[in-house]
Symmetry: C2
Subunit: 170 residues, 2 copies
DNA sequence: GACATCATGTAACCCGTTACATGATTTT
DNA sequence: AAAATCATGTAACGGGTTACATGATGTC
């Protein structure tokens, strides 16, 4: 049920349309909780039905601008303070590591080398994102910056670990 | 489609029953790709139908011991070498960070403090797992050890990041 | 004999992905 | 006039979670 809270969270900063939210997902939440267009529109309808958000204005092309209701803000706060983050993390990348023994040592090292490249690319991508964003002093900027730092550190860790792991293969 | 490859991977080491595989998931793959009992049994049936695994022996209580077929091993190798790990990582924990601005600074720091505690617990849990395992020189041991190191480093990174983040909140 | 463990299978529901489907408005 | 962008909605499918359902075998 995190998608709904992601939407509530974004709407807590500014009113926005489904289209706006889709763009916000692409830039800010893409690395924490990716969502597709179809998912967003479906969930917005459900959130409106549940009274957690409301249509505040309508624009050209059937644009519907949603705002967070008092119930929606309460639900967001409840999620943040009263529920534990417990989503099981699944990593395709790490799963493969367990089975590298069915490959030759060279192939196994090759896999880890690719991971190093991907870590570097990811790190660079976040650096570029950092530069492209107009960092203000609003909440999403402050905490978005903290989340971005998480990503930078994660990629650095990936690189160092993959280098170490490569040396473990005899 | 990673569950099927996780099963093929485990079977590449030793023949095993659904029940055995369930136990293996709990100890070795739990942190990379958790799976439930119902999922495992369903997938094993599909894999057998597809000819990637076969029932090699039957035991008491309807126990079916599966082995990897040549096609299964080929599929495992194909997955490891020819397909890219691209599973989008979703992190409930990180998503929440974006919206900590709707809480008071004290509450936000409280959330990060909890993350530090969970990181320490996770680190300790892996240390205990490390000690409880009878590390041999088979493939799953060698690469399982590498995967475990990944977890240790991840938890360390989490702690350091959360401590840093806590200091960023004014 | 009671209890723990071994052992398998199915059904309902929710969430996420991909693809389809349509059309208005703005920019070049 | 053409192309890009804005804007929304639905349907089919696949995978994961929870719960239900059953029973045999080994151990104390």
């Amino acid at each position: 049920m995190s998608l709904r809270h992601a939407l509530l969270g974004l709407l807590s900063e500014h009113p926005a349309s489904g289209y706006d939210l889709l763009k916000l997902f692409e830039t800010s939440l893409a690395n924490a909780w990716p969502a597709t267009q179809s998912q967003i529109y479906t969930e917005l309808t459900k959130l409106a039905d549940a009274g957690l958000i409301a249509v505040a204005a309508e624009g050209p092309r059937g644009r519907k601008e949603y705002t967070l209701t008092a119930e929606g803000l309460a639900e967001l706060r409840h999620w943040l303070t009263e529920t534990k983050p417990q989503r099981t993390t699944r990593s395709d990348t790490l799963l493969r590591v367990f089975f590298l023994g069915v490959l030759t040592p060279d192939q196994a090292r090759g896999y880890l080398t690719e991971l190093i490249e991907r870590a570097d690319e990811g790190h660079q991508g976040l650096r570029q994102l950092e530069e492209s964003i107009d960092w203000t002093d609003d909440n999403l900027s402050v905490y978005g910056r903290i989340a971005l730092e998480y990503g930078l550190r994660l990629h650095t860790m990936h690189r160092e670990w993959a280098e170490w792991a490569s040396g473990q293969i005899t």
